[in-house]
Symmetry: C2
Subunit: 109 residues, 2 copies
DNA sequence: TGACGGTATGTCCGATTCAGCATAACTTCT
DNA sequence: AGAAGTTATGCTGAATCGGACATACCGTCA
């Protein structure tokens, strides 16, 4: 997974509003990263709207509150797998998820 | 991630056509699993259509041929992360991916 | 039949992710 | 200000995933 690149970015801070300009990320990697951002925002919106706390969601998933916090922060080291599980657990439909993905703008170079 | 359940299924063979009836999988887990199946099929279709070999795709991703084979087989131990990277690398658009996800039928119990 | 390109399987080991826990940093009350 | 509830950050041990290899299993073509 190209450890070097990840390491570089990880220590670089990582927390870019709109997710463009990722020197060093391949096209594909950048796309995935952007998807994660979009979906994590979506997760937060839906969770808040449903008035569920991170802790409750964590319990439901068999995960931990800190994980959820990181998920929603769009932090590194979170997998799409957990993100999707969280979305489903929050009650977000496949339809809604698809909609979000479609709205993903290509941050391409 | 409920290791116990995974272990159980892993050894159970795993290879179910339409992906329903997964005793032991939670709602959310089942949904994710089904998404993986749908997307892996999609990956294969697009790759074949583009006349790219697994080896070529692997190179492009910095992965290995065997990983791609497993991806397309919908095998365990493949993450959505790699799957999405592969889809993008194959040239599948976010739009198309969204379409696939929308077509995901709830295999719910 | 044999060679060959492509795909499937299985095993290793190193790297990454996870859950859990501790503890800050807010917020919002009273 | 203090308390309670929620979210953010760090760290650690244990489990999982990823790439590389080896090798088997096809089809196909000469």
């Amino acid at each position: 997974m190209n450890t070097a690149k990840k390491k570089r970015l990880r220590s670089a801070g990582w927390k870019v509003g709109t997710a463009d300009a990722f020197l060093g990320l391949s096209e594909d990697e950048a796309r995935v990263v952007e998807m994660k951002l979009v979906l994590s925002e979506s997760l937060r919106r839906h969770r808040v709207k449903k008035r569920i706390t991170q802790l409750e969601l964590a319990r439901k998933l068999g995960s931990s509150q800190s994980r959820i916090a990181k998920l929603e922060a769009g932090a590194f080291g979170v997998t799409l797998d957990l993100l999707f599980r969280a979305l489903f657990a929050t009650g977000v439909s496949a339809d809604e998820i698809a909609r979000q993905i479609r709205h993903t703008r290509r941050s391409a170079a």
